[in-house]
């Protein structure tokens, strides 16, 4: 089912998705992004500075939110013009194979000119909102 500009309206919901994040994902993200902050890979240090566990990079979660929107919008990562989030809570990532689950949902907030829409995104981990004021303007086919 391909979403098109004409097929959506204000309030159209994006099919929810759950993405898992494991320690391996954080190590790969650290390498790819160059963000080697120790709280994202060393549990001993993370706990010593008062964190519940190793926590995911906020930018990793934002990247997942971007993927959530562009997969819905036809699969073109270049279709995003504006994209902003507020990081409202941490995503602790346990040292096991399952990792943490982040649930994404969203809806169309506004239809704009040029086949673009603004999407409001919600991301939750363990019931807590980890992104707020998360909005992307994306061009639809």
């Amino acid at each position: 089912m391909t979403v098109t500009y004409d097929s959506v309206g204000k309030g159209t919901e994006l099919p929810p998705r759950t993405y898992r994040v494991t320690r391996l994902d954080l190590v790969k993200y650290a390498g790819a992004s160059g963000d080697f902050n120790i709280i994202h890979w060393n549990e001993r240090v993370a706990r010593s500075v008062g964190l519940p566990n190793v926590i995911a990079h906020g930018m990793y979660t934002m990247a997942q939110a971007g993927r959530f929107v562009t997969e819905w919008a036809g699969g073109d990562p270049g279709a995003v013009a504006d994209f902003g989030v507020r990081f409202s809570a941490m995503v602790p990532v346990p040292d096991d194979d399952a990792g943490a689950a982040v649930e994404f949902s969203g809806k169309v907030l506004e239809k704009l000119e040029g086949n673009r829409v603004t999407v409001d995104i919600v991301a939750r981990a363990d019931g807590t909102k980890v992104l707020t004021r998360a909005r992307a303007t994306v061009r639809l086919p």
Binding site: A32, G34, D35, R67, T70, G84
Partner: protein, 149 residues
């Protein structure tokens, strides 16, 4: 320690040019689970109307954070980076970054606020090609937790 409010309006850069490469884009796409062929296959990207493989929308954070490093490590600002959490992030694109782009970044300190033990700094980074084409503006809000919070 509150951040030095005199730093509002300061401009850092443009720094050394950053060359966007196919390998780096593919590595980044792999790391975030972005499956699109447009990030990996040049033919697919050309067919979609792009000059080369394109970067996912959060890729620009690599360039943004390299540029804002000059600000956060400036001793006169008084930021304790070990106490910093990422508050907000945003990107406004004129077009996607693609392999072969050679860009420079210029970071401006937009605002500094202190509320109780928290300090907040908003920066704006303009990412432009070395030929002067504006590609993206990245906005970042860093929050420094106070020692007692």
């Amino acid at each position: 320690m509150p951040l030095n409010p005199e730093y509002v309006g300061r401009v850092y850069g443009p720094g050394e040019p950053y060359e966007v490469s196919r390998v780096k884009i593919a590595d980044f796409a792999d790391a975030i689970g972005e499956a699109s062929e447009l990030c990996r296959n040049r033919e697919a990207a050309l067919k979609a109307g792009y000059p080369d493989v394109i970067a996912p929308p959060t890729f620009a954070v690599i360039i943004d954070q390299r540029s804002t490093a000059a600000v956060v490590t400036d001793p006169g600002l008084g930021l304790d980076y070990s106490m910093v959490v990422h508050g907000e992030q945003g990107f406004s694109y004129v077009r996607p970054l693609h392999a072969g782009d050679v860009v420079v970044a210029t970071t401006t300190v937009e605002s500094i606020k202190s509320v109780g033990a928290l300090s907040m700094m908003v920066t704006s980074t303009s990412i432009d090609t070395v030929d002067g084409e504006h590609v993206c503006t990245a906005r970042s809000n860093l929050v420094e937790r106070g020692p007692e919070s």
